[in-house]
Symmetry: D3
Subunit: 286 residues, 6 copies
């Protein structure tokens, strides 16, 4: 059988067949149990993959083509539905294994809580990790509805692990007063807009390993309607891409894109944004 | 201010203002963390309430009117998002309190797991409880994705608590072989159709306290598209209502309707079905 | 220009170019102001026309083809948005004119209130008119939210005009007790199902002019999700068509199909049903 | 029963239990009969309330929290469906009562016509009222489809009542030539963009009672797809919020947000915008 | 890396990793160029695969489990978008190769035209092939909009190739008079309902190789809203499954399911039906 | 019959009754067979017409009213479904006839391939034609999925016919490297943004016949979600309109707007944009 005449719309476009040969690994972490409003991000990665088949592999802005990269699409993790802590353990183990295999993980959520086990795994390997978070919400609560494992606490846990001084929070525009106070006091905190953060990030990250986490709700709902908690007055897609084009980072060691929830997005523009973020960021930083 | 010129589309139509005076209590249990496919049933109760305002309070089949009943709408429980066990505890406590207050709870899910804490509370009060389950799925697994607290294990847990001989499972049409074998061996098991169960139920339940749990997916997806796990070849709405009209039960002590998930149902016909089930069942049995 | 190489997808398929030559006239009455729940039926006729282009003009059941009929599509009436009484006057005048021109009107709603001005115009011409109503609701209220002009009062007004003894109400399954009492007492009242009415109708209507009004919600929501007020436990499409195939009517003088509301029906199956009703009824009765 | 463990997802988040103690009153006016294109705004207020539960009560821009305000959610008015004039009377009476009770009404439409009875009530109490209108349409017609009571005539009626010199029309980008001529000649008219109006408004309104009416279609459809009449080339959400942050008004006496129509907005971003407008405007002006 | 902890949600559940070891092959043929009404069936196979992950692999009716079968999911064919004839060649070649490899193809459309190249490949191998078609439409036109390659001509072409006496057409309810005349005259023609055909099929097919093609629109739109051309008054899902359970066929050599078009089916019930058809038919016939 | 009391929502608002008297002709070319991702643009023109009835005929920016123009709406062409080449011939012939009749065609797609037969017809009449393309994609491939007739090759074919030096490509942001290289080398190529092109176009086009083709995906998906291939990081509606307001063209001889695909756009904002483009461009250039 000539298998090349077939394609899997479920596999990210351009992904190679052999895990061993890959430098980058795409995976999905379909957890959405702790979100407080609309569920659905468990289908985030699933919705990004078929959308990728309508995307050109060439980036005209960067004049590079995904064909120049070697990435493998692992599929979605099998998680313990409904148990956040157990699911976090599975995610942490998978990321640890990928790092051990000397590959760069690019993870699609799921909800933002998945970033917590990812950062735990990264911090093991990179004790001086810098974390850049693009997000409408600071996610700095100490607990949420009585639970420590929550999409609303994830950055507090990360900050406490890597040190809040290693956390850049960009685009934040929603949260309780306590979170804004914590952010302004302890983290690198750039509310509302993205531009102001660029120079600081470029200066601070020189020579350091950097992890980027993108909550898709950093975008205005007009540009990303498919997410669980819509926050008006966000950034435009142009501002988001221009932000990334302006970054100068020596060593990006991992990326995730979370909170894509396709149920509420008939056009699937949010999923399309998700796969474009892979192309532009992978071609820029890897 | 003349408050009667206003209405709350969020409050079930016809509900009274005073909890103390109510015989029946409507409440929502917005848990959907353990579902394996599509989330969204956390908005089940929320979607039923506004739909109730388009429903007549009079049932022509039963020639009774909801005005003859006294029911109070408690709203939705505040749950620990993402933690099934903790949420179950909250539900159990609330139901226990309602039972202590000598009221009949009518609970809207949420996912089917909510029936577990409800039955725990009921079994305390009614040790000889009979449980009638209408469902596409037996939900008799011992564990699911490694978790004991799951929508797929809920009836196994209930069966073990009240004794499988007190469990009627009606309309079941999907599940692994083990569940069908368990059901056929231990519970009153009536797969695929509803009619066959009527006489047996009427005979068995004479004089006993009965709880009814309705997973909306017992209906064919044509009649209830708004649910998490669609199963073709289900029963029609006419068969479902005729089943209830034929039941002769001395003492129905509680009812729940679960797995209404409005995201995927543009017409909201599943939510409309949900509020009609309250009217017909409350007028028939209470 | 060879105009035959073009088509208007929103003109009913097969409609002729010349009003004068037509025996039948299709028109839309886009009024939906008095509906109590979901608006949207103003787009009923608009949604039926494009759907007609996917419909065969041949009816295999009746072995007749729409090509054998001459019908003209007048478009939608320009109504006084938001003023029910003024809009009713416009509808009545238009129907009167069509009747004066010796043509048969086939009207798409809009809400059910449009049937009131239509029947007023028909009653002028046919004092012995028989009215057959297929509907989930009796629409026999004397007033509704303080208004006499309402979708919920329309059949009461018609009954009082033509005499309740000339009104057949078939498929009724929802309404307050008063409406059921009025119906059972005064009109020919066939609740829930259609079959029982056939022989009575055939006997009663012999030699009489008959008008048929179909509220699409007589169908179960599974078969017609695109309507304003969904009522579970309705009739199937097969039952509806078989009802019409069994009728033997000497003189059907007009028909309307109301309450098609396409907003909530992504597949547009309700609009497709609407245009199939034209084909089958026009070929059966005209 | 411990009622604090329950919440009503359709009651505006943070609203207090006692009308008497409230300074601000939220109410819905579910009228959409006179709209010329797509109906549906009758569900505007209903859709805003559940959306409010995903909104933080803290505004980081204003560094204030809704907890600092006392507001009561009255629910939706019971209106005479389909009769615009009667419904307007009901609205006017309710607003008059609220003003008499010395509370500030924050009204969600419904269509824009609701602003007419509101302004009538306000003008009684505040003869020198200034009205600031943000809107894509001037709504300055003298009549519309033969009716004086119409969403398209509402501002003409208001202008004639309070004097066109007391009307600021901002963001207008659509209408017949006559409306633009009237606006340019008689009212304070700022078409297309918002910025230009700020200084004039701040100067003019010094010491005066000001009412703000926001037709959500002032926003570009990208930011507010859920409305009846989409007008391309509108303002962005950032421009809208920045406009309000720049206003310096001594005495805002009431606000309404109209034409939110959730049917056509799967993500409900327009309803989310609606509840954010309450938070930002109430915290800014009350 | 332990790959078993991941899954591809868009690979059919239970499919094995090695083409060589498979007895059955699932593939998609994403062609929808010639459909006359709504396009979208190109995403038919894509939508069935993720839906399969919510399906039990065990069939309680047949008491068999998909684990007992060995099937490989080839993915979707890469077709020449917009060129029906070239695409048909690709499909024919792929099916021929699968047959040469002694495997049974189970193909998801795409539109019904894909059955033409499939039957061409099968007829090469099985000159006495019997074709059973379940469909709302006879698809017996000689040409359609001037084109011979069309979803409306596919069964005419097949009939002429294998002989109309080897074609069973079941459930047909829509088409021009010519098609019904041809069908009644030349093929085994069972319009409207399924039951009547069973005995004839069982008798005729004894010992013969049989191919089954299912146009999902044989179902009533209530049961399969996600298809290009909705035809009211179809069969129910129960009737469809019971039809298959009653067939006694010695040698089913291939199956296709066509015209699933997920765009217009928010709940995806049509795609769920599609994957259930694989389970029940594969377990019954293979 | 007084026909003025009716309107056809299917006919573009304001279109006149007599083809002969028209200066401008609106027509639809419902071809979408060669699109590689989501089909649906065959309903583009169909969706624009009813949307036009919610649009004012007056443009306040241009201070002109559509009443000043004479345009006729021809409806949609009857095309050979599924055969791109044959359909192109039909389109070319229709456009040639319109040009022969000395009228200006304004064509709604359909997919972008329709521009190829249009330009062929125009080039016959205007050998020095300048083509201005607004688009996310260059569409400069030599072939696509093995086919020369494709939405992805259309501009290459046009460039080769009229000379690449007569082609302005504005807003291009997606495509393979080869297309960007060709564009930069041979055509007037203005990627990403629109502003830069204005002066060059105004200078170059002086005195020349100009055709404008607008692929709606030049807009960011936030502003035009209803299209087949979404490309993030596009232009805003304000930028698009301002671009046109700044053009100074002596002789615009024809315009098309393509790739509006209403299926995926619940609010229909893309169709509304489509009819606004007619108003603004016709009033600006005709």
């Amino acid at each position: 059988m000539d298998f090349t005449q077939f394609y899997y719309p479920d596999r990210f476009i351009g992904s190679i067949e052999d895990y061993e040969k890959a430098d980058i690994v795409i995976l999905g972490a379909p957890m959405d149990y702790t979100v407080s409003y609309k569920a659905g991000s468990r289908e985030g990665a699933q919705s990004v993959r078929p959308a990728s088949w309508a995307m050109e592999t060439y980036s005209s802005r960067l004049d590079r083509d995904l064909e120049e990269l070697k990435y493998f699409d692992l599929g979605d993790l099998v998680l313990n539905m409904g148990h956040a802590e157990h699911s976090c353990n599975i995610i942490e183990n998978a990321i640890s294994q990928i790092l051990e295999d000397k590959k760069i993980p690019f993870t699609y959520g799921g909800e933002h809580l998945i970033t917590w086990p990812i950062i735990k795994a990264f911090h093991e390997k990179y004790p001086d990790l810098v974390l850049i978070q693009l997000d409408a919400h600071a996610d700095l609560r100490e607990e949420f509805f009585g639970e420590a494992y929550s999409h609303a606490t994830v950055m507090r846990k990360c900050a406490e692990l890597i040190g809040p001084d290693n956390l850049f929070q960009v685009g934040i525009r929603s949260g309780p007063r306590e979170e804004f106070e914590y952010g302004k006091k302890y983290t690198h905190f750039y509310p509302y807009r993205l531009e102001g953060a660029i120079e600081d990030i470029n200066a601070f990250c020189k020579g350091k390993p950097v992890y980027i986490t993108i909550d898709i709700d950093v975008l205005d709902p007009a540009y990303a309607p498919g997410t669980g908690t819509l926050e008006p007055n966000g950034v435009t897609s142009r501002e988001l891409f221009d932000f990334f084009y302006s970054l100068k980072l020596d060593q990006v060691v991992g990326i995730d894109v979370v909170e894509i929830s396709p149920y509420h997005d008939l056009s699937r523009m949010t999923s399309v944004m998700g796969c474009n973020l892979f192309r532009e960021l992978a071609l820029k930083f890897f």
